[in-house]
């Protein structure tokens, strides 16, 4: 167990190192702090003196070490645009993104397991086919498009007049397909509850929750079909195995076989894939936050790109890199804890 931990954590450090090198390369290559800091009128000698003072003429390795050293102490430079330490800017924006991810994750977990399991046990039922069909379509819709459609349907509202309005059934059908809209689609709203530090939460007020609905559903919409398909595929494979047949031969009930014997084996690969998907979610938050103008780190990153706010871009990459590494390491550890064949040896059996 210890060997397992050590191996995983040292891998994490290695990856972090690589990420920091890349981030530093970007900073060094793109950012000329002088250009942003002083105007055109400053003379060349003064610029040169400033460069010397800021250590910009030192060998590249020294500059990197300075960069890494600062980073480890929590100093990733100041944002050009906000004129504040980048980490502070990130800290202000991070809770919004985290709440979005939490909301989406809840939706995914609550819906994907029952639907995936059902589709695996009763593959021929029309409900299963319906869900699988919707899933296939769902995977084909990029997340920002789902967001836009949701906005059109539930925020703006859609009035359908395709059916003849002068008949009873026409009116009913028109009403059935029309939506009212009304859900907020911009930002987080004003009713946020202050939890601690920079964390203002939207989960504890009705206004906050209303604002969370459309963005969370949008974010979940791309992952949900993936998980449903994954759980269904894994479960169907597990259900073919010998130990399931043996469980039936022992006379166990279908419920116990499906929800204990089969599900436990199904969830193992799902956890692994799920962990990776969390990484992918970070990319999708960028898209979702753009559509809803949600003030999270994704939107912040995009605006930083538009404004060429290099320090903020670099800081974002470092933080996101760290989050990925921590998440992946945690997922590996959790997998190691849950899968008994991994426990003792520390390597996959």
């Amino acid at each position: 167990m210890l060997a397992f931990l050590v191996q995983r954590i040292s891998q994490a450090f290695l990856v972090m190192f690589v990420i920091s090198v890349i981030a530093f390369a970007i900073q060094d290559g793109l950012g000329d702090p002088l250009q942003q800091m002083v105007g055109m009128s400053v003379s060349e000698e003064e610029r040169e003196a400033l460069r010397e003072e800021m250590g910009l003429n030192d060998p590249i390795v020294v500059q990197y070490l300075r960069f890494a050293g600062n980073a480890l102490q929590g100093d990733l430079g100041n944002s050009y645009f906000y004129s504040k330490p980048t980490l502070e800017v990130i800290a202000e924006h991070l809770p919004a993104t985290l709440e979005l991810v939490i909301g989406a994750s809840l939706i995914i977990v609550v819906f994907s397991v029952p639907i995936g399991v059902y589709a695996a046990i009763r593959p021929q039922a029309w409900l299963s086919k319906f869900f699988m069909g919707v899933s296939t379509v769902g995977i084909s819709i990029p997340v920002f498009l789902t967001a836009i459609m949701l906005i059109q349907l539930f925020s703006i509202g859609v009035t359908v007049n395709a059916f003849p309005a002068d008949t009873g059934w026409g009116q009913w059908l028109n009403g059935f397909f029309s939506t009212e809209g009304g859900l907020p689609s911009y930002g987080r709203g004003d009713n946020l509850t202050h939890l601690f530090g920079t964390w203002h939460s939207g989960f504890f007020s009705e206004g906050g929750l209303m604002h969370l609905i459309l963005p969370s559903v949008s974010l979940a919409s791309i992952m949900l079909p993936l998980f449903i398909r994954l759980i269904r595929a894994e479960m169907m494979e597990v259900l073919q195995s010998d130990y399931i047949r043996y469980a039936r031969a022992k006379g166990l009930s279908a419920g116990r076989i499906n929800f204990l014997h089969a599900l436990k084996n199904t969830m193992l690969p799902v956890i692994t894939v799920g962990g990776v998907q969390i990484g992918i979610m970070v990319a999708y938050t960028i898209l979702t936050e753009t559509v809803f103008q949600w003030p999270g780190v994704g939107l912040m990153f995009l605006e930083a790109i538009t404004r060429s706010d290099i320090p903020l871009i670099v800081a974002y990459l470092m933080v996101v890199g760290l989050i990925f590494v921590i998440t992946n390491t945690l997922v590996d550890l959790i997998y190691g804890l849950v899968n008994p064949t991994v426990k003792l040896t520390g390597k996959k059996a």
Partner: protein
Amino acid sequence: MTTATVSRWDRFRESFVWYSFKRDKVAIASFVVLLLMVLAAVFAPLLAPTDPYDLAQINIMNSELPPAGLAGSDPAFPLGTDAQGRDLLSTILYGTRVSLMIGFGAVLLQSVLGILFGLLAGYLGGKVDAVLMRIADVQLSFSTLMVAIIVGAVFKASFGNLMFGEIAIYMLIFIIGVAEWPQIARTVRASVLAEKKKEYVDAAKVMGFSTPRIMFRHILPNTLSPIFVIATVQIANAIISEAALSFLGLGMPETQPSLGSLIKSGFDYIQSGSWWITLLPGLVLVVLVLVINLLGDWLRDVMNPRLYKG
């Protein structure tokens, strides 16, 4: 008595692949739709009623007209117009063209890279394998979309908006191709590892063939079948990735939009009620990606005969 030579076409007609295709209505429908879309995109300059990027042909007076059938529409613009007065049918045709070019181009690039690196990693093993797979792992854990965004952002910042816009289409092919090679490489590597153990490889070595020759002419053909399945799905993914990048402003510029950038520019007008500007290109995008995914699903089922459908 002589036996008639069986042509390749005859063999294909007898094959399981064709048999399965003929029976699968979804696959046939998807293929037909895809073919139509590809043809429409290829012949866009001939089919489009107007050239939406010829400023002389646009009239701002025509802006924000709804599609045919709704109040206020103009029959000259069957799908309506956007905020500048451009015919939506034309912009969608050209946009599909761009999206498809990038989709196929990116997959071609990532296949070449993926096959090359997969072969090297699998056949040479050792350090080469370790390094390549580490890079692949890091890239995959970041998710290819994230990698594409980062590379795109860096390129945009270093090339500047204008220049980026001009070479955008090649940039995007490059970005997406580089972001997505790990998956193909991994699959190829797995196949190579399995093939390496087989006897024909030993035979080739004993005959003194050089390593590149063994890799490319002997092993490679045997690893290709799973790649077809992955490549198909990857085309869909590439189109979505490009749409996402364009939507974020890191992709095709307004002067040469893909479906993604069309959706982006149309989004600003959704609140004022002109939903077609953003949703019609969106619909086309979804249908395109959907039929490619369905074909990919069918291909996967065909190559995996394990599952009985009795």
